[in-house]
């Protein structure tokens, strides 16, 4: 009988994407880097942006976060339009960002780095849960942030945004430059946070890694989304993908 009590409005709300990006354009100074990006992410999905270097993947994440010089188009997150919002407002709306260069602060120790992003909503992981996911961070709590290994820095960079209660995580190439065993650990972590209801938009060059964590893939080229692939179809579409990625 529960279906009978669900109103059409609620059905529509449940079906509406969590993040809807339409016609997103972005500029760094004079250079026009995004030319009308369209994409959608539903609550609880893990979606990747694939594409070769310079295709606009990182710029898309930075544009969603408000970290480009100028942007136009539409970014709706949970019904709110964010195209004109400042980065701190966007973060407060529930989006968290982990940059490609990881952004660990040298003048802060590991604990200070972990505790830096303010909690913006309930529902984030506790420090104990983050330490359970990444035991190294507990052992090295008092070390200077940048004294950690590359893998540990990546764990710290992801761990600190899991605390904040942000519901959508933008992760820029978390697997880049890391040993295979660490990449596996990060893959396991992404599957685990997906189970907890987090939504993830992931930039990846490594589509074999992307395949192990994602539901869907967008392929980008020249500042646009040029194709969408369901994860189940990825193996079948390897030829198509390789053409895009130029491998």
């Amino acid at each position: 009988m529960s279906e009978a009590t669900t109103t059409p409005r609620e059905v529509a709300a449940a079906a509406a994407p969590m993040l809807q990006v339409q016609g997103l354009e972005a500029w760094y100074g004079e250079s026009h880097v995004l030319h009308g990006v369209n994409l959608e992410i539903r609550q609880g999905e893990v979606v990747t942006l694939l594409g070769r270097n310079g295709a606009g993947k990182t710029s898309t994440l930075r544009a969603i976060m408000g970290l480009v010089g100028r942007r136009a188009g539409s970014i709706r997150f949970e019904g709110k339009e964010l195209i004109a919002a400042r980065p701190d407002r966007i973060a407060r709306a529930g989006i968290a960002y982990c940059p490609e260069e990881r952004g660990i602060f040298a003048s802060l120790d590991v604990t200070e780095n972990l505790m830096l992003p303010p909690v913006i909503a309930p529902g984030g992981l506790t420090v104990e849960e983050i330490h359970a996911l990444f035991p190294n961070l507990k052992e090295r709590a008092r070390s200077q942030g940048t004294k950690l290994s590359g893998g540990e820095q990546q764990m710290l960079a992801i761990g600190r945004i899991l605390r904040t209660g942000a519901r959508l995580l933008l992760l820029d190439e978390p697997s880049e430059g890391l040993a295979p065993v660490i990449v596996q650990q990060i893959g396991a972590m992404i599957r685990q946070i997906k189970q907890r209801g987090f939504t993830v938009l992931l930039v990846e060059q490594n589509f074999r890694f992307a395949q192990t964590v994602a539901d869907r893939h967008y392929v980008m080229d020249h500042g646009r989304v040029v194709d969408t692939l369901a994860n189940a179809d990825l193996s079948a579409s390897t030829g198509r993908l390789q053409a895009y990625l130029g491998v």
Binding site: M65, L67, P87, D88, S107, E112, L116, P117, P118, I120
Partner: protein, 290 residues
């Protein structure tokens, strides 16, 4: 023996000057670290701190102790207005623009005060009771107010250092010095933080001004006299280094005191000689990161 005690007195006086150097260069370091602006108006803001204390006393009858709080608040508010209206548009430009702008502000502020109050000094007496702190032993005499300046200056420096190194607000500050964009993307209002940091640095200068009012006469040029030495302190300590500015401030006050004993003609020059040597051997300063 008497000579030695008299010499010690000169050194002690030098160290209290060092407390002012430390307070002023600390404010400069905080502002430079966060805003990347070399705040040449710092001396004028120090002078305004002293003048506001004088005005509060002579116009409103508000005494020294409330002024220690009120004057930094009032001058800090002027700092908020300056940051919002004048300094903010310069962040994207080279350091030099901020330096020139704040230097211009200093000239305007000093000119306004000179026009209104004249160039001669005004007296500001500390409240009675400081003689209880007088240190006297034979020929060694240090007035109680100087002792208070030394204690208060040290306490303020330590407190500022603790706030920056050990608190959450300090962690935001240190992080925003490294990567302001990322800190803002974590949900922190970085532009507001920059305004408040400037105001805090300016308030420190004003607080030093109130402390200085009973020691030096209150006059429009009092900041300009100080600020030249303070910039030498900043260069020696390392631009933007908090600990460096505190330690170097006290150290150079001490060195000036010792020079006063050994060869008093050089006591004003010695700071610049040290600056030249430091610049030649460690261009980033004693505590600076190259």
């Amino acid at each position: 023996m008497e000579d030695l005690l008299f010499d010690l007195q000169l050194v002690a006086l030098g160290i209290t000057n060092g407390a002012f150097y430390a307070l002023l260069s600390l404010g400069l370091a905080v502002i430079f670290g966060m805003l990347n602006v070399i705040n040449f108006a710092h001396g004028a803001q120090f002078m305004m701190g002293a003048f506001v204390a004088w005005m509060l006393l002579n116009w409103l009858g508000i005494g020294y102790w409330p002024s220690l709080i009120l004057s930094p608040l009032i001058v800090g508010l002027i700092g908020v207005v300056m940051e919002r209206l004048l300094i903010r548009p310069l962040y994207k430009l080279d350091h030099l623009y901020g330096l020139l702008l704040t230097f211009g502000c200093a000239l305007v502020i000093e000119g306004l005060f000179r026009n209104y109050f004249g160039a001669s000094g005004l007296r500001y007496s500390p409240p009675p009771g400081f003689d209880a702190l007088d240190l006297e032993y034979g020929d060694f005499f240090m007035p109680g107010y100087r002792v208070w300046v030394l204690l208060a200056g040290t306490a303020i420096c330590v407190a500022t250092w603790l706030v920056i190194e050990k608190t959450k607000i300090g962690a935001y500050l240190r992080a925003a010095v490294e990567r302001p964009q990322l800190v803002q993307a974590f949900g922190i209002n970085v532009p507001l933080m920059m305004t408040l940091t400037y105001a805090a640095g300016v308030a420190l200068a004003a607080l030093a001004g109130v402390l200085a009012a009973p020691v030096y006469s209150v006059h429009p040029g009092m900041g300009a006299n100080f600020i030249i030495t303070v910039f030498a302190v900043v260069v020696i300590g390392g631009m933007g280094s908090i600990l460096g500015s505190i330690v170097t401030g006290f150290l150079l006050g001490f060195v000036q005191g010792v020079t006063d004993v050994v060869y008093s003609e050089a006591s004003q020059t010695v700071v610049f000689v040290i600056m030249a040597i430091v610049l030649l051997t460690r261009p980033a300063g004693l505590f600076g990161r190259a």
